[in-house]
């Protein structure tokens, strides 16, 4: 069992501004743990997490691959989240670099086809579009869940970039909600980019039915 990262340095004040790890986060950890051997066998060099929040997931990835095993990069639109991410890495002796930006914007030009592990637990809750927009523009805690129409407005932007980001052996892990229409997500990724997908774990948590999806390139032969 790979232990859950130590988050004891984060306080109530941090969680007023930054998403506190919850069922979705923990399902993400469980899914990654289940895939740990597979992930290690790829010898990833660059890991990138979008929307790292507390930093819990990338830190966990750091314990799968080891502190010096890969480069751990994170982005978050919320500056407090970026700060917590670095702090959580430090608390658990995993060196993480966090960037306060939207999705992958400032990394995309240089990391084209270079990301071996891409992670995103997005704001997936269906809200009205305006709430999602305001959350994106202000970078506050509502950006942790406000996903706009079908909860997919932010995720869809990233899905357009995944194929450009992934290395030939790259894996992309995404958290999704049943209401996000998972068959549609998978069909789109297959049709538009030839990326095949699989649900690696799923769980009901209160009203949410959560899924962890894994996408990868399809090789014939």
């Amino acid at each position: 069992m790979i232990p859950t990262p130590d988050l004891s340095h984060l306080t109530k004040v941090d969680y007023d501004r930054v998403y506190e790890p919850a069922e979705d986060t923990f399902l993400f950890l469980d899914g990654l743990e289940q895939d740990a051997e597979h992930i290690r066998s790829l010898h990833p060099t660059v890991c990138l997490e979008i929307g790292s929040g507390s930093g819990c997931v990338s830190t966990f990835m750091g314990s799968i691959l080891g502190p010096t095993g890969a480069l751990y990069l994170c982005t978050d639109i919320n500056q407090h989240a970026a700060r917590c991410t670095v702090a959580t890495g430090r608390q658990n002796k995993i060196p993480i670099d966090a960037i306060n930006c939207s999705l992958t914007s400032s990394l995309l030009p240089r990391l084209r086809h270079s990301i071996d592990i891409l992670l995103f637990n997005p704001p997936y809750v269906p809200t009205d579009g305006e709430e999602a927009l305001d959350a994106q523009a202000s970078g506050n805690i509502s950006g942790a869940w406000a996903g706009g129409l079908s909860g997919m407005e932010i995720t869809n932007k990233l899905l357009e970039e995944v194929n450009d980001l992934l290395s030939p052996k790259g894996l992309f892990y995404l958290v999704a909600l049943k209401q996000n229409d998972i068959p549609a997500i998978c069909a789109m990724m297959q049709d538009a980019f030839g990326l095949k997908s699989q649900t690696i774990i799923q769980r009901r948590a209160g009203r949410e039915h959560l899924f962890i999806l894994r996408f990868e390139r399809q090789y014939v032969g």
């Binding site: 069992m1 232990p3 859950t4 506190e20 790890p21 919850a22 069922e23 923990f26 950890l29 469980d30 060099t45 660059v46 080891g66 010096t68 095993g69 890969a70 480069l71 990069l73 639109i77 500056q79 700060r83 670095v86 060196p95 670099d97 966090a98 960037i99 306060n100 930006c101 939207s102 914007s105 400032s106 990394l107 030009p109 240089r110 990391l111 270079s114 809750v125 269906p126 009205d128 579009g129 305006e130 709430e131 999602a132 927009l133 305001d134 959350a135 994106q136 523009a137 202000s138 506050n140 509502s142 869940w145 406000a146 407005e153 932010i154 932007k157 948590a205 209160g206 009203r207 949410e208």
Partner: protein, 160 residues
């Protein structure tokens, strides 16, 4: 921010998508910290093909390190790997700023974190097809009704 990350950052914003790498340090002096880290020679060798050598040398010089050769050597021997590890993974920029040589946008670095957030207006446009007039009633997000997720009671533990 490690220097390796500087080597992977470009400005990529509305109106500035080319010639926006590398970003030049501004006021980085005195805000450089050395944080020791174990070396993983395999990692250094694997990451090397993804780096821009000249940008790396320039960045290292700007923060006062001249240990690396100006031209990328053909061979990566132990000594070079050691030096690369130091420059890439141990030099940290904690405070300062970076400037895009194309559009002159300044990207501040504080608490080791670069801020390259989009202008709120560009963010709205990027995520929306709504008319820009909508910006008039943009708020800082306070006082919003929260939907869904957070009204669900959550168990905040993972069973190890």
């Amino acid at each position: 921010m490690h220097l390796i990350t500087h080597n992977l950052l470009a400005r990529n914003a509305k109106g500035c998508t080319t010639n926006s790498f590398p970003l030049a340090f501004r006021d980085a002096h005195g805000q450089v910290e050395i944080q020791e880290q174990d070396i993983n020679p395999d990692f250094v060798c694997n990451v090397l093909p993804r780096l821009e050598w000249k940008a790396l040398i320039d960045a290292a010089c700007q923060v006062g390190d001249e240990s690396l050769p100006a031209e990328q050597p053909n061979m990566t021997d132990d000594e070079l790997v050691q030096k690369l590890h130091y420059v890439l993974m141990e030099i940290h920029i904690t405070e300062g700023a970076m400037v895009c040589s194309n559009c002159e946008h300044i990207c501040p670095i504080s608490n080791s974190i670069p801020n390259s957030k989009p202008d709120p207006k560009d963010s709205m446009e990027y995520f929306s097809t709504l008319p820009v007039a909508h910006l008039a009633d943009m708020t800082d997000g306070n006082g919003h009704v929260m939907y869904g997720a957070n009204s669900v009671a959550k168990k905040r533990a993972r069973v190890d």
